[in-house]
Subunit: 385 residues, 2 copies
Amino acid sequence: MTAPVGEEIVLARAYLIRVAEPPAFALHAFVDVVGPVEAADLVRRGDVPDAVRSETEARRDLDLASDDLRNAEKVGARLVVPEDPDWPAWQLLCLAPSTGRGPRGTGRPLGLWTRGSVPVANLFDRAVSVVGARSATGYGEHVAAELGFELVQAGMTVVSGAAYGIDGAAHRGALSAGGPTVAVLGCGIDLAYPAGHSGLIEGIAAAGLVVSEYPPGTTPARHRFLVRNRLIAALSSATVVVEAGVRSGARNTAATAASLGKVVMAVPGPITSVMSVGCHDLLRTGGAVVAGSIPEIVEAVGPVGANLDPSRKDLRRSTDGLGEEALRVHDALRREESMDAEQVAVEAGLPLDRVRTLLPELEITGHVTRLDDGWRQQEGGDRHG
Amino acid sequence: MTAPVGEEIVLARAYLIRVAEPPAFALHAFVDVVGPVEAADLVRRGDVPDAVRSETEARRDLDLASDDLRNAEKVGARLVVPEDPDWPAWQLLCLAPSTGRGPRGTGRPLGLWTRGSVPVANLFDRAVSVVGARSATGYGEHVAAELGFELVQAGMTVVSGAAYGIDGAAHRGALSAGGPTVAVLGCGIDLAYPAGHSGLIEGIAAAGLVVSEYPPGTTPARHRFLVRNRLIAALSSATVVVEAGVRSGARNTAATAASLGKVVMAVPGPITSVMSVGCHDLLRTGGAVVAGSIPEIVEAVGPVGANLDPSRKDLRRSTDGLGEEALRVHDALRREESMDAEQVAVEAGLPLDRVRTLLPELEITGHVTRLDDGWRQQEGGDRHG
């Protein structure tokens, strides 16, 4: 796969993406101004503004661009750059360097190492991230897998982080529906982390896409997972947290997604489960809306009106439309035994003339039946709602 | 137990409470104006305004006051009236006849038939209602029972409706902590409904209180349960819905409690359980706040600061206070292998002089250790949050 971009640009960005630890705000702004080729040249020579120097000084002599591109190619990966038509420009727009500069920042990536079978373009047009605890429960993994499956069935892409627990279950659910699913890694594109998921990550590359902004060989580290989370949030239009402990990284993804203006949903669970504490905290603080069922999630994250939850219809009881007095008349009657209007009036505590008006009305609506010996209830389900 | 109120008043109210099906707004207003004794006399003669006539016409010849009082006494019950010092006046104030006149109304009761071992006064000063589905799951019953127990342990009264499922579990939990618990019935005070809970209702009467505004012998009916729900809501300062199906009566109680300005909480549950759908609906629509744990509920419904949840402390990781750069330096280090400042600078992607400043700072805070051959990570828990 050759990128339809000049080799010079790709080499320059491959160099820059290794020189500064993402997110590198000053370097990004510098590249925006002078372009990637000149930026690479100036960084190499140390001829840059102080802020850029601070981000690039430690590694600027590490010119491994050709090596990185070669190592990436060995595992079937390539570097997608902003100059590439395949770049998910629209989705990454929310990561403008000038917005959300919290302690960990939400800056845009200088490029994305990708490995997969599907074109990057359009893959993120209808993408939903499904994230959560690594030490998930059976309940959480069940929900994540079902959700992954149903989202793909509804035409969406499932984005997650390839971790154990919720991430893995979501990817597997998506793969079982034929994909597409995207794993965003917090280490080099050529590494499988966690090692136990190397088979899963291969499967994701075969039916979807594996993405990382870290050059080949970059080892996983906690701060990289936090930085990586902003890409998961940015590349999806909604983030669903399935299970999260008090300290789960999924809450970081949720917070980032919310700060980027994305829909954030949290799946409730038993309050007896520590793995649902983070979800309930998100719901309590308004950091997420309730994801009460899988059809409800699919409806909420999909295009308006495209996936209306069919399970929420026909929930009305036959007596739902009745007013207070009509309901009292209806409930005063029996199904097995007839009553006359006087008995109904006493039982219902209503004036006789009112009962005499209501009974024929209820007959018309099919709620009561008139027999030779009086009136009976026709139907109405459970009497003690 | 003789009520410290004139017999004439008790007889008048016993007559009035049977003559009109609660809530009887017009009759209540009429009693407020002319007093119960004269009101009873005028109702009996039919010499009343039209609105009152409409409420009382069908049953005004049913003068069973003495019978009702005798039948109540047979089961150890009495009629508590607003003139009684034992009347929970303050709690029932929210049910003013002029407020919340929806289709089912929230009118005040004309009297309350009570059966129990504890004085009514003060029983509702710190009362919480625990309500939910009859066809509850094991999870729901577990939570309701634990909650009933913990509320009583925290000095509160548990109010519920004596139904199967959540109600029963909440009452049992409260009884297992020694009570007090209150059952508000939707049928006559002398009836045990459901029949399978007659033993439980006896237990509640023995250690707490059974309450009904319906005269002895009144059969259970759906509209009575809905009318009864307003008393459950009014007599508690907070309502907790533990499990509720889409059509659960508990949602009616929750809506009434909210309209009365009470705290309403809903316990989340698995989204795979139909018995949590109603709770999640309440959370989604803002009809309730998240009841994420039993200590959290006890804290929320109790007096301010009295029951602070102790489980929410000490959740911080040792690296929580570190800034972005310090965290990168910390994460770049290993525990088993020493690194020099130059290696750290490359790994962390930070200028060398910055790393040289940060390392001694991290040594002071106990995050890193200086050895003869370089620097090591001191502690820090899981590296991949």
